[in-house]
């Protein structure tokens, strides 16, 4: 059993092209982009996107810390 979903707090504006899109995409806001470089901590991100790292490189990665393994 699951919680049956939760309403997301999305403050961002909707896409101007929503009327042309499927329902599932319609419900999404535009993604938000933060353009500042920073030294990230687990408090301010959920995960990391980057070029594929090897399983060995993972051991010293920020993602491993966010996974609770670093």
């Amino acid at each position: 059993m699951t919680s049956g979903g939760q309403i997301c707090n999305v403050d961002a504006i909707q896409s101007p092209n929503d009327h042309r899109r499927s329902v599932s995409i319609n419900q999404q806001a535009l993604p938000i982009l933060h353009t500042e470089a920073m030294r990230a901590q687990s408090a301010n991100i959920n995960g990391v996107s980057g070029a594929t790292i090897t399983s060995r490189g993972y051991q010293s990665s920020l993602q491993s810390i966010l996974d609770g393994l670093g």
């Binding site: 419900q27 990230a40 090897t54 993602q63």
Partner: protein, 264 residues
């Protein structure tokens, strides 16, 4: 059902495809339900690696490349992948290619990881889970939002930094996929399909959109196009790109993103 069986911050990792997969589930759900769904995700990723890996000599792809098996006898899944690769070669005007330089060896690796990850993630959907992300080697599919009701927030690794904790930007998504292609982590392994030269003008290319299959494939193709790739992705409805140049500049179309309302 007792409270002791419920969980809301479930994380597991799994080594697969030469990298590490991570799943974070924020649904309030029974531990056993989530765990069984994640078992199915890992099993699916392992199975797809065994079919498509060019590193395993026993994979279906390797057998085709040794002429031990004909393409048309390889099964619907392989035809689906090669069909998608052919379409990508067409729409990217040759920047994406599923063959090694020279043309003899089939290598759909630029497509398979994102496709396999999105396919494996369907086991989380089937279990009724609605708030999660699945990442395989830096390519991410999300559903819904975090347990706090906020968008999922991901750092874009700084491809020009040796410090793995430095991020060059951050994106926030609710249900979208985030994929990044670049040369930083494993050397120059991407070729420009048009001239067989290693692609070098950008440090990384990130694509955000509904499906990881396409976000990953478009990132791979757009990366070799250089900064032109940002405009190319903008023409693919629902998808947007963020390039990081070798000097650390960001290239993107501002109209395709929301600006953060609050300072982090």
């Amino acid at each position: 059902m007792t409270d002791a069986l419920l969980t809301r911050n479930f994380v597991r990792t799994h080594t697969v495809m030469g990298t590490v997969a991570s799943v974070h589930v924020h649904d309030v759900a029974e531990f056993g339900v989530i765990n069984a769904a994640v078992d199915a995700v890992w099993t699916e990723l392992d199975r797809l690696e065994a079919v498509f890996s060019t590193f395993h000599t026993t994979s279906v792809i390797s057998r085709i490349n040794r002429r031990e098996l004909h393409l048309l006898d390889a099964g619907a899944e392989l035809i689906e992948v090669l069909d998608a690769c052919t379409w990508l070669e067409h729409v990217s005007r040759g920047a994406f290619r599923a063959r090694r330089p020279g043309g003899a060896v089939i290598d759909p690796a630029g497509f398979v990881k994102g496709w396999a990850t999105e396919l494996a993630a369907k086991h989380l959907d089937r279990a009724g889970l609605q708030q999660w992300y699945l990442a395989v080697g830096g390519d991410i599919q999300t559903r819904g939002c975090t347990g706090a009701g906020e968008p999922w927030r991901f750092g874009i690794a700084d491809p020009n930094s040796d410090d793995p904790r430095v991020v060059r930007a951050m994106v926030e998504v609710t249900g979208d996929a985030v994929a990044t292609s670049g040369t930083a982590a494993r050397g120059r392994h991407l070729w420009d399909g048009r001239d067989d030269q290693p692609a070098a003008s950008l440090a990384s290319m990130t694509v955000v959109g509904p499906h990881l299959t396409w976000a990953d494939a478009f990132a791979t193709a757009a990366f070799v196009m250089g900064t032109d790739g940002v405009d190319w992705v903008a023409g693919l409805e629902g998808y947007r790109a963020l390039a990081v140049t070798s000097t650390g500049e960001l290239v993107h179309r501002a109209a395709q993103w929301s600006a953060p309302l609050l300072h982090v």
